[in-house]
Amino acid sequence: MPDALLTVGLRKTYRAAVALDGVDLRVGAGELVGLLGPNGAGKSTLTKIACGLVRPTAGHVTVLGRPAGSTAARARTGYLAELFRFPGWATADEVLELHQRLARSGGGAPERRELLALVGLAEAAQRRVEAMSKGMAQRLGIAQALIGEPGLVLLDEPTSALDPAGRRTIRELLEGLRGRGVAVLLNSHLLSEVELVCDRVVIVDRGRTIAEGAPHELAAAGGVEVETVAGMRRFPDAGREEVPALVARLVSEGEEIYGVRVVTGTLEDAYLGLVGRDAR
């Protein structure tokens, strides 16, 4: 089975500005990959190239084995843009119907009902977009991206306008997609969510891939904390395996131990360590 998304040496320049500088990326079939990076790192450009909105300057991109942007590739791709709008005069059902026609989906009304229910908009089928909250419109956008059972779904900041309940809905939806073998490239600034749902994370900065791996691989260990009479003592270089020896040594030195905690590093720590804390 071909990769859902494969980029090799992908480069994109806008006059003198380099948006992507030779990015190699692979999203396997049914894989959920998080794309992280600071503002201007090239994440949205990469996503737009994958769905054919932007033409690459150089490199090779395929979607499910077809050249990105080709009719065959677009027919198997679902996309939610970071900044998107649907016509305010249309109802949720009309928006989905239009996209069904454009995507040549034969799902009809049952597919529309299922998708609206999936994103928690079952009761809003006849509501006009202009009467929707930002979060509802975002949910509708996600439903639109899933029309026609795509093999690859590209989501650019899908939860940016959602409240915690909405985020949980989308998280469950993403897990459901993975269960159905749909590959997802999730472009997000919400590291905690990416960490929760993604199989793999790719971090890009200044148009280059700077790190790649499973979230737990990227999240560095944070040492061991031991609660003693004197207070909390931190052993930053210690790992889980060294806890018994460490406790034994402290007890032998006369310390009274009240608690031990292995500090796990977060993806956020790893991310900030890689890209720095400077705002861009």
């Binding site: 769905c51 677009r74 998107f84 016509p87 996209h99 454009l102 956008g141 639109q144």
Partner: protein, 289 residues
């Protein structure tokens, strides 16, 4: 088959937008106002001519024909202007404007393709504008006949030329929307329309003064902007059969001195349309959205 279905889908979407956004309602209401005003003005003008009949010492002058042809020339000009306004507004955001607002991207990523999308927008806008100018033009023809009994020599030629002219304007507006933002495109199309109008008037002044230079400038400009040449051609067809002293006066008037562009005009307009369409398609296909 797929192409036809895609064209129907996108064209239907564009038309539904125009209806839901009340664009067509506004157009209908204002057009009714214009036609009512035209009917009233035409009625008054013919009544005045009947009252003052014989007051002018010009043997052979057919005052009703002079009045009717002038009124209809005015109606034709206004029809093209209103058709241009409609063309600009129904295509204003078609590409750049919708892309800037994030409306276009969800559509473009679908397998339907950019060329089909553009063609559908052209067909929908073209159909709306052609139907519109035909309704306004034929209403004016009927009103002129009803109020003053004047029927132009070749009304069909006028109708065909208006349809062709507004189609060219739709194509230019769509080309503009692939290159310019909404406001810039609207301004550009109105300026192009104004330039065409000025070129036509220069040609008429040139003809009246027998200035070959002015006529040549006008000819080049109207062929560069063939909607004006088409309009002039249609205008000419309306009054070409008026002879004698009435014909001479009509030719001197603001809507009578139009030039017959000859048999190459329509083939040229077709080629112009195709080239404008291809340029728009190329620009749209190459655009990063």
């Amino acid at each position: 088959m797929k192409l036809v279905r895609d064209l129907q889908t996108i064209g239907g979407y564009a038309l539904r937008e125009a209806v839901r956004r009340k664009v067509l309602l506004v157009v209908v209401v204002l057009t009714i106002c214009f036609l009512a005003l035209y009917a009233f003005g035409s009625h008054q003008a013919f009544q005045e001519v009947t009252r003052a009949s014989g007051a002018v010492d010009a043997p052979g002058l057919q005052e009703e024909v002079l009045t009717g042809s002038t009124l209809l020339g005015l109606a034709m000009f206004v029809t093209l202007f209103l058709g241009t306004v409609l063309a600009v507004f129904v295509t204003l955001n078609a590409v750049r404007g919708d892309a800037e607002r994030g409306l276009l991207q969800p559509l473009v990523v679908r397998p339907v393709g950019r060329s089909t999308l553009l063609l559908a927008r052209f067909l929908a806008a073209g159909a709306v504008c052609i139907v519109y100018v035909q309704i306004v033009y034929w209403s004016a023809v009927l009103l002129t006949d009803a109020t003053g009994g004047y029927r132009p020599g070749n009304a069909v030629a006028g109708a065909v030329s208006l349809a062709a002219a507004v189609t060219i304007i739709v194509a230019l507006a769509l080309l503009g929307t692939t290159l310019l933002s909404s406001t810039a495109n609207g301004i550009a199309i109105f300026m192009v329309f104004g330039a065409g109008l000025a070129a036509g008037l220069i040609g008429q002044i040139g003809a009246a003064l027998d200035s070959q230079t002015l006529e040549q400038i006008s000819s080049i400009a109207t062929w560069a902007l063939p909607f004006e040449a088409l309009y002039q051609d249609g205008l000419h067809a309306l009054t070409a059969d008026i002879d004698g002293v009435t014909g001479v006066i009509v030719q001197l008037g603001p809507f009578g001195g139009a030039a017959d562009a000859g048999p190459l005009l329509y083939p040229f307009a077709l080629v112009y349309l195709v080239v404008a369409g291809l340029l728009a398609d190329r620009a749209f296909r190459r655009a990063d959205l």
